[in-house]
Symmetry: C2
Subunit: 219 residues, 2 copies
DNA sequence: AATAAATTTTAGACTAATCTAAAAATAAGT
DNA sequence: ACTTATTTTTAGATTAGTCTAAAATTTATT
């Protein structure tokens, strides 16, 4: 029904939709799919024919509810497989994304259901991302980006908004793991970089680029 | 390096090689890949360019050692995933082949290694097929086809040579599971059908078509 | 409001994998 | 050995996904 490639486009359009209210631009999709704008235009017309997105020339694209359902199923599989890789096979959280990118396209409802059960119906993946339920409902927890937290506010780290190996390894080195207590000490005005206290101990300096990609829960 | 499609061709050529001494014909490959002979010819030329098979027009095809190595890696993955599906997720042996057909193409040495370890380094898949080791060495056990066993010979069922759902469900219904004792009572001359005793109890009648696909160990 | 810049779409071409129909080569049957 | 049948290969076309270069449209700037 939906090809490997189509699923990747839908997943990326979904991701962009969660970051923007307005229509998604062709160029934004091209950047994440690592293709050229011309290729994206072709695919959008195809997905539109299949009723998976609503799209009009030059006006950007949105997922239809059908398209969103497909995207959420793929994301559900991606995250369940990541849990499997970390919890059962002992991978580190920075090693699982690329493998899950492949596993997420395996097509078997029964397999997903049994995998979910085998893992004990986890609510979050190893990066703190929530796992959609079997009906494609994505739980909402209202986490904020660390970059939006005010000075002297204490928070708990609940997730990351990026899965690149270099980013995750950087966090691990600094001691920024899921569940740690963070307190914002000072925010530099000109570049939004910040000094934070991790677990009540050391002071660390982190760039805004890092802070934007850390998800936290306010006490 | 090798595509999904190329891997399927190599796997099928490997399978045919174990059944025949001579070169593999274009038509034989076409039948198993569910494609036309013309498509096979194209692919054989491509695989030959990649040094994965040795092939000359009209003379049939053989795997090179490189090609065999690729095929055995795919088969190793297929069988390990089948063990996972049955042992860890609770699938029946007749439900796992199609899912393993997809999983066998997931590309990650590290994943295969860890999966193997997680499963306790199994030697056989749920159908009794041996699992090649990480170096691509296929263990040999010298099992025979039940169809080649003489009357009054007692044997143990060790595997099946076919994975179709209908065949496996038929076996399960009759009580032919891995490990059962079988004694050949009588072989009908004209159609090679046979009467067998299963587990020392009941007499069963099975066709030569079934007997050919049951692998047994002689006491 | 007119012009320049950026974005997006079209046109035309390429690769991988497939097909059908026709041609070539091999194998079989007299 | 000659003819026929079967198998295999070539020729030409198709579909999915991609690209570059050029044209069209939208957005930004004077
Ligand atoms: Mn991921
Ligand atoms: Mn994740
Ligand atoms: Mn199988
Ligand atoms: Mn098997």
């Amino acid at each position: 029904m939906t090809s490997f490639t189509e699923e990747n486009y839908l997943k990326i359009i979904y991701k962009l939709s969660t970051e923007t209210e307005s229509e998604i631009s062709t160029n934004a999709v091209a950047e994440l799919t690592q293709t050229k704008a011309a290729s994206v235009t072709d695919m959008l017309r195809k997905l539109s024919d299949k009723q998976l997105v609503s799209y009009q020339k030059y006006q950007g694209v949105r997922l239809t509810s059908q398209g969103q359902a497909v995207a959420l199923k793929v994301i559900r599989k991606h995250r369940l497989w990541e849990v499997f890789l970390v919890e059962k096979l002992g991978f580190n959280w920075d090693e699982v994304h690329d493998i899950a990118e492949q596993l997420e396209h395996i097509d078997s409802e029964e397999l997903v259901q049994r995998l979910d059960e085998f893992l004990g119906f986890p609510q979050f993946d190893p990066h703190g991302d929530p796992i959609p339920d079997r009906h494609g409902k994505m739980p909402e927890f209202g986490y904020k980006n660390l970059s939006d937290i005010d000075p002297n506010q204490a928070v708990i780290m609940m997730g990351v908004a990026q899965h690149s190996v270099s980013f995750l390894q950087h966090l691990a080195k600094v001691g920024l793991n899921l569940g740690v207590d963070i307190c914002v000490k000072e925010i530099n005005d000109f570049d939004k970089s910040m000094t934070i206290k991790i677990g009540g101990e050391i002071d660390y300096f982190i760039s805004n680029d890092v802070a934007k990609n850390i998800l936290v829960k306010v006490y």
